[in-house]
């Protein structure tokens, strides 16, 4: 890629993003790619005066990633989308569809992952129940 | 007695036939104004026949009842007009029909239908006072509410009531469901309320409301003829010009909202009526 890419860790992510916002950057979007069976690669694209800047986060599928939607409201749709398609959890989403933005309740999760496809009945297990408990309170509304 | 029977029959036939033809002409003229070829003249009849042939499906029985009441009231109003009855009575019967249409829409739970019904009530609220003022104008000029007396009046009414004719034009635009007043429902179901008031009417009952609408169109055009009742040619020319202008206005304006309609129709309509009435009174 021609532009500058900066690697970030999950802990430092929100801080870095907030810094970029102060500098006057605009969130373009997030791109998620599956690297292997347990890792995802998330690129955060930012733009200022037609120049791009990227943050790269390598996220394990099992762990949740802090949401940047409290900083950039515009991130809510794309984070929900990644949640739908890659099964990654984002913590602290301003509007959390809980994986139903695109998919129906009964649909298989993670349709965009090549390496693993969690089946529907697996989702019903205790892990899913735990997921539901720790969800954002806003989620009840939708 | 036979004369009365013939007149009643005339009214009952003229409503659907003339109304449908006017509607067909309207569609052709609109198409030409938009540089299209448009449908054949008889298309409205084809549409209605197709609707009548459909399986009746009702949201609830009330709605079906209301559709029958609406067409009954609309046809009675037109028959009364053919019988040269009292203008006030005619408008009263017509208003009853309009209200039944609203009640039918309110009886369903669809939000589109509900909001459409509310808007229709607001429309009735805007045009009914204007119609009453037009009738008052006739009374001040001729001294009677009877149609026989108005038709017998020797001078064309338009020369004495020009502003009231414009006011009637507003009412006509609302009644014909044309832009900028096609708020509660419009002819092509392409607005934010889908088909608004008529969303939940379907099949034969939608056909009934359409035929009822034709009766009302003929009635309103009949009221327009009162403004040049002295000669047939005058009547025809007046009707043609009025309807052409209606279609033209429909094609050069966008749909407005009901707040604008209330303020504009009442503001301009009432002012024009008052000016005309005062002028009549002075003269």
């Amino acid at each position: 890629m021609r532009e500058e890419i900066m690697a970030v860790s999950a802990e430092a992510l929100v801080g870095e993003v907030a810094k970029l916002k102060v500098l006057g950057y605009r969130l373009v979007t997030l791109s998620c790619t599956e690297l292997d069976a347990s890792n995802l690669d998330i690129l955060y694209h930012f733009d200022k005066d037609l120049g791009l800047k990227h943050l790269r986060l390598t996220a394990p599928k099992a762990a949740a990633v802090p949401s940047i939607s409290p900083v950039y409201f515009a991130a809510l749709l794309v984070e929900n989308e990644i949640q739908d398609f890659f099964g990654l959890r984002f913590e602290g989403l301003v509007v959390d569809y809980r994986g139903t933005l695109y998919l129906e309740e009964e649909a298989l999760k993670t349709p965009y992952c090549r390496f693993s496809l969690r089946s529907a009945d697996q989702r019903e297990g205790p892990a899913a129940a735990l997921d539901a408990e720790t969800n954002h309170p806003n989620a009840e509304k939708f | 007695m036979t004369e009365t029977a013939v007149l009643i029959l005339c009214g009952l036939i003229a409503g659907p036939v003339v109304g449908g033809l006017v509607s067909g002409l309207d569609r052709i003229l609109t198409a030409r104004m938009q540089s299209r070829i448009g449908p054949p003249l008889l298309q409205p009849f084809f549409d209605v026949v197709k609707l009548l042939a459909k399986e009746p499906l009702v949201v609830n029985v009330w709605q079906a009842f209301c559709a029958y009441c609406y067409i009954a009231a609309a046809s009675i109003a037109l028959v009364l007009f053919f019988l040269q009855s009292d203008l006030l009575l005619i408008f009263f019967v017509q208003a009853v029909g309009a209200v039944f249409l609203v009640v039918g829409a309110l009886s369903s739970t669809s939000p589109y239908s509900q909001i459409g019904a509310h808007r229709e009530l607001l429309q009735i609220l805007s045009y009914e006072p204007l119609l009453v003022l037009v009738v008052v104008g006739f009374y001040l000029e001729t001294g009677s509410f009877k149609l026989t007396d108005i038709y017998a009046w020797p001078h064309p009414m338009l020369l004495k009531l020009p502003f009231l004719f414009i006011v009637l034009g507003y009412a006509l635009t609302i009644k014909l469901r044309k832009s900028p007043f096609d708020l509660s429902t419009c002819h092509h179901a392409h607005q934010e309320l889908v088909k608004g008031l008529l969303t939940d009417y379907s099949g034969p009952f939608l056909a009934l409301t359409e035929i009822g609408h034709w009766f009302e169109v003929v009635l309103m055009l009949g009221v327009c003829t009162l403004f040049w009742a002295t000669s047939w040619i005058g009547m025809a020319v007046l009707l043609a010009v009025t309807y052409f202008l209606e279609v033209l206005v429909d094609n050069v304006t966008s749909r407005m909202n009901w707040r604008w309609m209330l303020s504009y129709v009442w503001g301009v309509g009432l002012t024009l009526s008052l000016v005309n009435l005062i002028w009549l009174h002075q003269g």
Binding site: - | M33, S35, R36, L248, N251, V252, T253
Partner: protein, 143 residues
């Protein structure tokens, strides 16, 4: 308020923009990518079109020399025509007319031999003299 009026009045007098479509059809432009045809006599059954087609609407049976196309899956992109080495594929300038039945175009060709055999057999039944194309109504959507 009535700024649209001149346009409206003008439309009343100038020619209409629409036409009575199925009755009156405009002349197609010269380079239009319309319906896809295979000149089966020139086809060498190499299978390039099958590989290149983005909508995978073409199947080529190299051994039996059968060229099959699902015209309903074709997206008229013309990639097969561009890449055909034998130039046997071509597109007419007319579009396929609407139909109520699903059809699969299946053409039987001859393997390329030194001596040109003139007679070709249809795949099954309905042997058309020209052997141009055969439509199986309600054929199995093989794609």
């Amino acid at each position: 308020m009535f700024r649209m009026t001149p346009n409206i009045v003008r439309n009343l007098v100038v020619r209409k923009s629409t036409r009575m479509y199925p009755v009156e059809v405009r002349e197609p432009f010269a380079q239009v990518r319309g319906e896809l045809f295979n000149d089966i006599e020139r086809c060498i059954f190499c299978g390039t079109c099958e590989v290149k087609c983005p909508s995978q609407c073409i199947q080529v049976d190299k051994k039996a020399c059968i060229w099959t196309c699902d015209p309903f899956a074709c997206v008229f992109c013309g990639v097969c025509v561009d890449t055909c080495p034998a130039k046997s594929l071509y597109q007419k300038t007319k579009y396929r007319s609407p139909t109520g039945e699903r059809i699969i175009i299946s053409q039987q060709g001859q393997p390329r031999k030194k001596d040109k055999a003139k007679d070709r057999a249809g795949e099954s039944g309905t042997p058309k003299g020209s052997g141009e194309e055969k439509a199986d109504p309600g054929g199995d959507p093989a794609t």
